[in-house]
């Protein structure tokens, strides 16, 4: 049985009716805007929010698009080994949510201890499986369920008082790279967002998430703008969609209203009951300005918000080049256009963007002391710099009086032998060991990421960089990581794909590298 939906002729009124309009005031600032989930919100045009999952007229089209994106770039789907239980948990939880919200089309039945039967009548799927047994399902479980919901799925592991983005299927990222960010902590990922650190917003959100209990889902909304009805605006594909931010400035008004979309994410935050992991569901909605303007309350408020938005926030959202034209367009396209222009906020000229400068590693200004509470010590000195040798000797002297100490001297981790020596030394270390690393920035970040992969945690690691002349750059387009003599903001050639890539001020301590993507003005391959 196959109930195909007519999704190509999208019902315009439906998009508006269920659109989760995000603005509750005439100005927008970041807040910890979490609220209990699964309660319906009435809007000026209709309603949204009754369940944690949402299937609409775009169901088949978006699932097809996700499948195409995953086929072209499998790196959008990652489940780190320790997240296997969470992936199963997420799948079963989403099946339950679908069955609860759409009982006529979705059914989940228990057929015995650990065995289940799943039915999705919209896609014509009947599947039996055993919980935890991938062979019985025929596919990795997170991938399996991601092929049946429009939401992007991210799973976070909670450990050591922090949350880590350790699994997910993300095909509709709004200007970030899931492939690069996998393994990062919640706080690291939000490093580049302006203002929220100073105002404590991200800390509060972090504390809140850590306390979430199962069976009590929460939600929040996020917004930005996208040129064209384009779901996948990930960093990986920046060369394809980035130039639109420039060319939109030159189109006529009719085209502007059709092309510029308000993009809203409804995010559900759910503590999974079996694995204890946190699941973020990110459901993306796009509405073009010309349809947004048909709802008077939305037209007026959106114009206000866009005109008043501070420059740093507009830059971070990537809308700095056209948000003021968008505000003016909305004011000009109402029933009483003239009256709108007496409104509160003036519409200044659009700005040109610059790189935000958050998301850089913080290095100590002088070599940190040895933690004498350790049971054993491993000192790693990388490179021939004179300072490196001096710091390593001082550390060895201090550590030896606290416990058995081992010194490892390496040239560079670009040499296989040196990498093998490092992993070997880590394998021989017991819990209770403190690891101290000194060298140039690129090598130190690399060594730290190797130690973390072996299970070492922040409390066990100490690092000092003797210079910041180099770093590891991760190319968002070909995924190659290269040791470069460069700094954030510089443009280098990627040896993997040949593109000219700009190094961002956004690093992953898990990878030990900085994100780099095609420089503005670079033609797409």
């Amino acid at each position: 049985m196959n109930t195909a939906h007519a999704t190509t002729a999208v019902s315009k009124s439906r998009l508006v009716e269920n659109f989760p309009f995000p603005f509750t005031a005439d100005r927008y600032r970041y807040t910890t805007n979490v609220e209990p989930a699964a309660s319906t919100v009435a809007t000026a045009a209709g309603h949204w929010g009754g369940a944690v999952v949402d299937i609409d007229g775009e169901y088949r089209a978006e699932l097809d698009e996700r499948a195409a994106i995953l086929a072209a770039d499998p790196a959008r789907h990652v489940v780190l080994p320790h997240m296997r239980p969470a992936a199963w948990d997420a799948m079963l939880t989403l099946m339950r949510a679908l069955a609860q919200a759409y009982p006529d089309q979705m059914q989940l039945r228990s057929t015995g201890p650990d065995t289940w039967s799943w039915r999705n009548a919209i896609l014509g799927i009947e599947q039996s499986f055993r919980y935890g047994d991938e062979a019985s399902l025929g596919m990795e479980p997170l991938r399996y369920i991601a092929s049946q919901v429009q939401e992007d799925i991210v799973l976070l592991d909670q450990r050591g008082d922090a949350l880590y983005i350790d699994a997910g299927v993300v095909t509709f990222a709004a200007d970030w790279s899931f492939g690069f960010d996998v393994g990062m902590s919640f706080l690291e990922i939000h490093g580049p967002v302006p203002r929220i650190r100073k105002e404590g917003i991200i800390i509060r959100a972090h504390e809140f998430l850590k306390r979430l209990q199962p069976h009590q889902p929460y939600r929040r909304t996020n917004w930005t703008m996208t040129i064209g009805r384009r779901l996948d605006v990930s960093t990986e594909l920046y060369p394809e969609w980035g130039p639109d931010r420039e060319t939109i400035r030159t189109v006529d008004d009719a085209e502007f209203g059709r092309a510029v979309h308000l993009r809203v994410e409804v995010q559900h935050l759910i503590r999974l009951a079996d694995s204890g992991a946190l699941m973020f569901l990110i459901r993306t909605y796009l509405l073009p300005l010309d349809e947004l303007a048909t709802v008077e309350a939305w037209r007026v408020r959106t114009a206000e918000v866009l005109a008043e938005l501070p420059d740093d926030m507009a830059e971070y959202k990537g809308i700095g080049k056209y948000r003021n034209r968008a505000a003016q367009w909305l004011r000009d396209h109402g029933p009483h256009a003239a009256a709108d222009n007496d409104r509160n906020a003036d519409v200044p000229a659009d700005q040109h963007g610059g790189l935000p400068s958050w998301g850089l590693p913080h290095w100590p200004p002088y070599p940190p002391e040895v933690d004498t509470a350790g049971a054993a010590y491993l000192v790693v000195a990388i490179g021939a710099d004179v300072t490196t040798g001096r710091v390593a000797r001082d550390w060895v002297a201090a550590a030896s009086s606290a416990g058995p100490t081992r010194l490892l001297v390496l040239d560079t981790l670009t040499h296989d032998m040196d990498r093998t020596a490092l992993t070997g030394a880590l394998d021989e270390s017991i819990t209770g060991t403190r690891i101290l690393i000194v060298g140039g920035q690129g090598e130190v970040m690399w060594a730290l990421s190797v130690a973390r992969a072996k299970g070492a945690i922040a409390a066990e690691l100490t690092a000092y960089v003797v210079h910041t002349r180099d770093l590891l750059a991760y190319c968002a387009h070909c995924a190659q990581t290269t040791l470069c003599q460069a700094a954030p903001g510089d443009i280098v050639d990627c040896p993997g794909c040949g593109r000219r890539i700009e190094i961002h001020a956004h690093h992953s301590s898990v990878r030990g590298s900085f994100l780099a993507c095609a420089a503005a003005g670079e033609e797409s391959a």
């Binding site: 979490v34 969470a86 809140f208 009590q216 204890g276 350790g374 049971a375 819990t431 209770g432 070492a456």
Partner: protein
């Protein structure tokens, strides 16, 4: 196992603790002074799942005590807890040992997770003392299901050992058992010095035993985020003391009982207050305090604002028992 529709999820209404009324389906004597009680829905339907190491809060005879779940938390149709009879306790365990029989109904909270296994641990070192074995059994079930590496040391008084069969079965006989505390501590010190990097330590038992184990771990360099412990009695949710609130605008006085929030009381009395998260993080339900001393339980106000005492987050914060708080409303 029935073929019942698997929508066992309890509907959410944010922030409040949801209670279940369950039937006692089995009671067994696990050891001297330890009773294992099995609970289920009257119709045998699915119960909310739970993370390993979770506990239930059982409401009985005016008491609210927390007990770790020893059964499997994946799509469960029953909850099983083991209760130690505590002679000089507040009486909750006494009620559960003397007054409860099969077929009785008990009111319990939905399971709360406070002692979860670390997914990324390379190895789990599980240390249990006496009744502290209960959350460890839960951890071992999950470890068996997902193929995790574990090592167990279990110390107990000879006749008070609960779940020995479970522990032996779930560790294929490798668990080390001790009836002498000195032997246990000697062996523990050796074990603590020989774990690969990436191991996590979990300990549950009487407070003194936990303190000794943690001190031994600290002495050989185990950092805080590798050490996890659960102390019984400390994790029960605090319903707060009753107090009164006076609304300066209308001169109304309302009682805020234990177990209900100031925000709830205001709403029940027809007074609407802006709110969103109902958990003390978003800042929407802030009220100005004119008199009285707030007891802050939120995550929104700064330390300075809390010290000034001129604002309160109505959804979670309270006042001292028996006092009257005055707010501008």
């Amino acid at each position: 196992m029935t073929a019942a529709a698997a929508t066992g999820a309890v509907p959410a209404s944010g922030g409040e603790q949801l209670d279940l009324t369950l039937t006692v389906t089995a009671i067994t004597a696990a050891a001297q002074g330890i009773r294992t009680i099995t609970l289920a829905n009257a119709d045998g339907s699915l119960l909310p799942g739970f993370v390993p190491g979770s506990h239930l809060v059982v409401h009985i005879g005016g008491h609210a005590n927390a007990y770790s779940l020893v059964s499997d938390g994946t799509a469960p149709t029953e909850y099983r807890i083991s209760v130690l009879l505590v002679g000089n306790g507040r009486g909750g365990s006494r009620c559960l040992h003397r007054d409860v029989t099969t077929g009785d109904e008990l009111r319990v909270s939905t399971p709360r997770s406070a002692f979860a296994p670390i997914a990324r641990a390379r190895k789990h070192l599980l240390i249990a003392g006496g009744i502290g074995i209960t959350p460890i059994v839960s951890h071992l079930r999950a470890a068996r299901r997902w193929g995790r590496e574990t090592q167990v040391l279990y110390t107990f008084r000879p006749r008070n050992a609960a779940h020995l069969d479970d522990v032996r079965e779930l560790t294929d006989g490798a668990a080390e058992l001790f009836t002498c505390r000195t032997d246990f501590m000697t062996r523990l010190r050796v074990v603590l010095r020989s774990q690969p990097i990436g191991t996590h330590l979990y300990v549950c038992g009487p407070a003194g035993m936990i303190d000794d184990v943690l001190a031994a771990a600290v002495a050989v360099g185990w950092p805080p985020s590798r050490r996890h412990s659960e102390r019984f009695g400390a994790d029960v949710l605090d319903p707060g003391e009753p107090f009164r609130v006076r609304l300066t605008g209308t001169d109304r006085i309302l009682d805020v009982d234990s177990g209900i929030s100031l925000l709830d009381v205001l709403e029940q009395n027809g007074i609407s207050v802006p709110n969103q998260c109902r958990q003390g993080v978003c800042g929407e339900c802030r009220l100005d305090v004119c008199a009285g001393v707030p007891r802050h339980r939120d995550l929104f106000l700064s330390e300075q604002e809390k010290a000034d005492g001129t604002a309160i987050m109505a959804c979670v914060s309270r006042a001292q028992e028996g006092t009257t708080l005055e707010v501008s409303l």
